[in-house]
């Protein structure tokens, strides 16, 4: 069953076409990776799905409902949650309050009380391993901790579709492994229907994604099974300009 469907979605900034007629289907159960060089439009695509920007052309459906015109705050309750590539915590609030906002206004429903939201928040804070930072101001976290906070906030929203924009970037390989396993585990346990992950860290993509979409200059270049796509010469070329394949290298940004 199709969870999210993009139909020829286009977004322009002035003369620049950041996302160019991208079509994509994400099905229930999917774990999809989205890769592509810097500036290829990955984050913009997430911004279009989560409602930060409205597309200039094309349509977006969530389970048959046309959400193209729906403002961001109405998409969250339908089950779309995302993390920001550059973390955007509520800086003067504690870690706990940050995550609680996700629980309060996400897909749990309007009735969620503040106290309930706090206990939901605690659950996810523990899950991502920020338990001892619970009452710390978000401002005071390290860069990696802020990434984890982004993840916890998105999880607390009880999403059907979870969009993760470079959550493991900047982490050491050990942590990358841990976080990817964690995301896989949470996806099963919390019954998140689908997770889409934008990542330059190729091992993370290989470990996590069954399917990969490659973007280049706003366009969708290829889409297919992870290992097959990553072995393609064309894909390597957009990354390095050489024909060394990505699968052999590690971090796609080199």
């Amino acid at each position: 069953m199709v969870l999210l469907k993009l139909e020829k979605v286009t977004k322009r900034f002035g003369g620049l076409v950041a996302v160019n007629e991208v079509s994509l289907e994400i099905k229930h159960g999917d774990s999809i990776g989205i890769v592509g060089p810097n500036g290829s439009g990955k984050t913009t695509l997430f911004n279009l799905i989560s409602g930060v920007y409205m597309p200039d052309e094309g349509r977006i459906f969530l389970e048959d409902q046309d959400i193209t015109e729906l403002p961001a705050f109405k998409r969250a309750p339908l089950g779309i949650a995302r993390s920001f590539q550059i973390p955007r915590p509520f800086r003067s609030a504690t870690v706990r309050e940050n995550v609680a906002v996700g629980a309060m206004f996400g897909a749990h429903g309007e009735k969620m009380s503040v106290d309930e939201a706090m206990s939901i928040a605690d659950h996810y804070i523990d899950l991502v391993g920020l338990g001892d930072k619970r009452l710390e101001l978000a401002d005071k976290l390290t860069a990696v901790e802020k990434k984890l906070l982004e993840l916890a906030r998105a999880l607390a929203m009880k999403p059907k579709l979870l969009l993760l924009d470079e959550v493991v970037a900047g982490m050491n390989p050990n942590d990358v492994d841990k976080i990817v396993s964690l995301i896989k585990k949470i996806k099963e346990e919390e019954k998140i229907a689908a997770v889409a992950m934008v990542e330059h860290v190729i091992p993370a993509v290989m470990k996590f994604a069954e399917r990969v979409m490659v973007m280049n200059e706003g366009k969708k270049m290829v889409e297919g099974a992870t290992m097959e796509v990553l072995k393609m010469k064309e894909v390597a070329e957009v990354y390095f300009g050489t024909s060394q394949t990505i699968g052999e290298s590690g971090d796609a940004r080199g």
């Binding site: 961001a72 509520f90 800086r91 609030a93 906002v101 996700g102």
Partner: protein, 329 residues
């Protein structure tokens, strides 16, 4: 319950001390009433500026409209034999006027982001002043004087009591109401929504916060309190309303300084800010009569550039995690 009472304690204690001092020490009532006006004004603006991080440069319009609401009640209904009920009608009109304007401005302007909103509000109070003068509404530039109606309704002794004492007591009452409402809001979903949108509007939206709704709510609440202040601190206290006075931008500036000085978005901030500012202003009025802004304006610049958290914001950060933190929000 405890989580509401604890942070209210310091604020209410201060109110009681001020009230007690004013009532028992001769000659202190007027200065304390003067300071209380600033404390409550700060609380009112804090509900919007502090909670949302949006600035309304036309805030004084709500004070002005509240003042007009009360004045109109007297000039329209004095002969209807409402007795002291006329004051209730006056407050009601003040509230309705403020709500109407806040909805009109809010529904349009609050869809706009920070700077654009601020730009839109620059015109609101000016626009309103010019509408009243230009269309000769409500007495045009001559304003409304209600001293004779006050005497007709209440007799001269009672009228005098109203403007020299009761109106000040009303300001205290409005302040207490504002404090309770602020604490309550901070602990509800709305409080968290406002925190989120103040910190990062895009992130808040993506997390499901209907930012326009909460901004309009905070704006309306803040406007109503400004209206109540205008009705009592101007119309009842001074017994006249002139557009030049009640739409004077100085009150907007002062309210902003109080909120920023004390700490935007906190409960105790505007109270502390109002107290400091009120005392400062009281002395400035004697040292530099007519030139308070000469001191206040650079003070504002100084606060926002080097001390943006304000006094209470600073203390709050220091107390984070200690057992006193529950008392300072």
């Amino acid at each position: 319950m405890k989580k509401y009472i604890q942070p209210l304690l310091p604020v209410l204690t201060l109110y009681i001390v001020l009230l007690g001092a004013g009532l028992s020490i001769p000659g202190l009532w007027q200065p304390i009433a003067f300071i209380m006006f600033y404390v409550v004004l700060g609380q009112a603006l804090n509900m919007f500026l502090g909670m949302t991080g949006y600035v309304d440069f036309g805030y004084v319009a709500f004070l002005g409209l509240g003042a007009y609401g009360m004045a109109l009640a007297f000039s329209l209904f004095t002969d209807d034999g409402l007795g002291s009920g006329i004051i209730v009608v006056g407050f009601l009109m003040a509230v309705i006027f403020s709500i109407l304007l806040s909805m009109a401005v809010g529904a349009i302007a609050l869809r706009l982001r920070g700077a654009y909103f601020a730009i839109a509000t620059i015109g609101v109070s000016e626009g309103f002043k010019y509408l009243i003068e230009g269309a000769r509404l409500w007495g045009g530039s001559e304003g409304i004087i209600i001293s004779s109606q006050l005497r007709d309704s209440f007799g001269s002794e009672m009228a005098n009591y109203l403007s020299t004492f009761a109106s000040d007591i009303l300001i205290f009452a409005i302040g207490i109401l504002a404090a309770i409402l602020t604490v309550y809001t901070l602990h509800t979903r709305a409080g968290y929504a406002l925190m989120a949108l103040r910190e990062d509007e895009d992130a808040a939206k993506v997390m499901g916060v209907n930012v326009t709704k909460y901004k309009v709510m905070a704006f309306g609440m803040s406007a109503v309190f400004a209206g109540l202040i205008g009705a009592s601190a101007w119309t009842l206290k001074l017994t006249y309303v002139f557009p030049e006075d009640v739409f004077n931008i100085i009150y907007t500036v002062e309210a902003i300084v109080i909120v920023m000085l004390g700490g935007a978005g906190t409960l105790a901030g505007p109270v502390v800010g109002g107290l400091i500012y009120g005392i400062l202003r009281y002395y400035l009025a004697t040292v530099l009569p007519g030139f308070q802004l000469l001191v206040v304006a650079p003070l504002l610049v100084l606060i926002v550039t080097v001390f943006p958290d304000g006094v209470v914001g600073y203390i709050k950060r220091k107390l984070k995690g200690s057992r006193f933190s529950k008392y300072v929000i």
